[in-house]
């Protein structure tokens, strides 16, 4: 079985000439839970967009499920339908992802676009709404929801597609502690179901808890580490260098001491 994604020497330059990703070589196998960690602006979101065929590399190649993932390939309706049904993307900003007029339409949008029949779509919408505890909000417009509810709805809008691969961009940002715990539970379930998940985050503790592999992007937009979370997290100097942890002074009563901190 081919890997879900293979990136070979992927570089991406913005029109302004600024480099967003540099020589990325990455293979993501079926069922893997990969956390892509890096400081702000390191290229995590761009990498997810490339994996989802929403941005295309300036040089290098991307393969998805054994086939080249290019702009031309996505013009082919059959390929696009197959690819989109396999990969779901939860965007960092829920406001961007929620574009329908109410929560029910939002949950139904993906499966309907994939051509599923209405009875099946309705079943998925109700199931996911109940699971995410947003069943009382189905007739409300997304703009009237709270930040946490929006995030749940954004995740739900991808869950109804029952994708094999889930890409999550900073999924825990803007979530209250209870919702964060709920999200970790969701990731755990996906892992048990054997789904692939790629999570872009700079929250090291969340990444360590949910992923079985950690890819570190430096502020120069290159992959500087790739391995099990415990091995990556042990590289203290590297994490300091890529701005994922920092030295932090603390005072306990009259004693001040310094240690590393991740945020």
């Amino acid at each position: 079985m081919s890997p879900d994604f293979e990136l070979e020497g992927v570089c991406l330059d913005y029109r302004s000439g600024i480099r967003a990703l540099d020589s990325i070589r990455l293979t993501i196998n079926p069922g893997e839970q990969v956390a892509v960690v890096g400081a702000n602006g390191s290229g995590k979101s761009t990498l997810l967009k490339i994996i989802d065929g929403l941005a295309f590399p300036t040089s290098g190649s991307v393969k998805a499920f054994g086939a080249p993932l290019t702009e031309d390939a996505l013009e082919d309706l059959a390929f696009r339908r197959e690819f989109r049904s396999r990969v779901g993307f939860v965007f960092q900003e829920a406001d961007v992802q929620l574009f329908c007029s109410n929560a029910r339409d939002e949950l139904a949008f993906g499966p309907l676009q994939l051509g599923l029949d209405e009875a099946e779509v309705e079943r998925r919408v109700n199931d996911v709404a109940t699971q995410l505890r947003i069943d009382k909000l189905l007739d409300r417009p997304p703009y009237s929801l709270s930040g946490g509810e929006k995030k749940r709805l954004a995740i739900g809008s991808v869950l109804t597609m029952e994708s094999r691969v889930l890409l999550l961009d900073e999924p825990s940002s803007g979530l209250d502690p209870r919702s964060q715990v709920w999200l970790l539970g969701v990731l755990e379930t996906w892992k048990k179901e054997g789904r692939t998940a790629v999570i872009a985050t700079h929250d090291l503790s969340a990444a360590a808890e949910s992923a079985d592999r950690m890819v570190v992007l430096s502020e120069d937009h290159v992959v500087v580490a790739d391995g099990p979370p415990e091995e990556v997290l042990a590289q203290h100097e590297l994490l300091l260098e890529v701005n994922l942890i920092h030295e932090h002074a603390h005072r306990h009563s009259s004693v001040t001491h310094t240690h590393s901190h991740a945020h």
Binding site: L77, R84, F91, E93, S101, D105, L112, Q113, V121
Partner: protein, 297 residues
């Protein structure tokens, strides 16, 4: 890293009593207007959820019947028939559990006033000669001029009142589904849905930008500076909306969008809807007939 030394210590002196309040700055007034606009959207949502006459109707039937009333307003010519239609607006608003007084105030203060300003010059003897009713020299108001102006104003008020009823008694989502059911292309409906959502998101952004500035402002600038600030923010919003539009399009692509938009909505009509539509159709036809008879005299 070092911060500037603290320059304000101790208690703050109370404001001098009897000071006249300064006129609010243009930026502040803009922020307040934005806040009002957002609040109105939420109030309309609440109003649209009440169990009133129009709210209980099927969205398509409601839209069709109100369209019928608006078309009738443009077909009739007699001031009396138009007056009847103008009165129908507040009556329907009251039957839909909305305040008839607020309804009338809203319609007359916006559409009514604008139509009056536009129509008034045509009531003068200079443009419409005839029997002078209000002598004001070269700009005396004539009987046919005033009748023409009254017809225009009443027609505008009646039609805009019916439009307001749609806004007040229909959730935005219902309206979009009704438009969809009435065969408006899916792309246009989807664009309208996204535009509505984006406008609200951007309204919030602009309001917060204005408030962020206000929180750091000691004294408002000159009117010119204020205008420049508001204009700059407008440019900022345009840039931001373009960026957001790109992001939203990416989010749509990621969930399989490839052109036509399908939704789950299935609208159903009941005998009540058909009764209402028939009554409206008969009533409108009767009004047009009566109007013709009145004009024939």
């Amino acid at each position: 890293m070092s911060f500037p030394a603290l320059n304000c210590q101790g208690d703050i002196a109370p404001a001098a009593p009897g000071r006249r309040r300064r006129r609010r700055s243009l930026a502040r007034r803009t922020a307040d207007s934005l806040n009002r606009a957002i609040s109105e959207v939420f109030e309309n949502e609440e109003l649209a959820g009440r169990p009133g006459l129009l709210q209980r109707l099927d969205a398509r039937v409601k839209l069709a019947s109100i369209l019928l009333l608006a078309v009738t307003a443009s077909l009739v010519h007699s001031v009396w028939t138009l007056l009847l239609l103008v009165c129908a607006g507040p009556a329907l608003a009251a039957a839909s559990q909305a305040s008839a007084a607020s309804f009338a105030r809203k319609v007359w203060s916006s559409a009514g006033l604008l139509a009056l300003l536009l129509a008034l010059p045509s009531a003068t003897a200079y443009i419409t000669p005839g029997k002078v009713l209000v002598p004001l020299g070269a700009v005396s108001l004539t009987e046919p001029g005033l009748m023409g102006a009254a017809t225009l104003v009443l027609r505008v008020v009646a039609a805009s009142g019916f439009c307001l009823l749609v806004i007040w008694t229909m959730r935005w989502t219902e309206l979009l589904h009704a438009l969809s059911a009435l065969r408006l292309p899916g792309v246009i409906v989807a664009t309208l849905a996204m535009a509505h959502k984006q406008i609200l998101t951007l309204l919030r952004t602009v309001e917060q930008t204005h408030l962020a500035r206000e929180s750091r402002l000691v004294s408002p600038g000159t009117t010119r500076e204020e205008r420049a600030w508001v204009t700059e923010r407008m440019a900022f919003v345009v840039r931001k909306s373009l960026k957001t539009a790109d992001d939203v399009y990416d989010a749509m692509l990621a969930r399989g969008y490839s052109g036509p938009v399908r939704t789950l909505v299935r609208l159903r009509t009941t005998p009540r809807d058909w009764t209402w539509l028939t009554l409206c159709a008969v009533g409108c036809a009767a009004l047009v007939l009566v109007d013709r008879l009145l004009l024939a005299r």
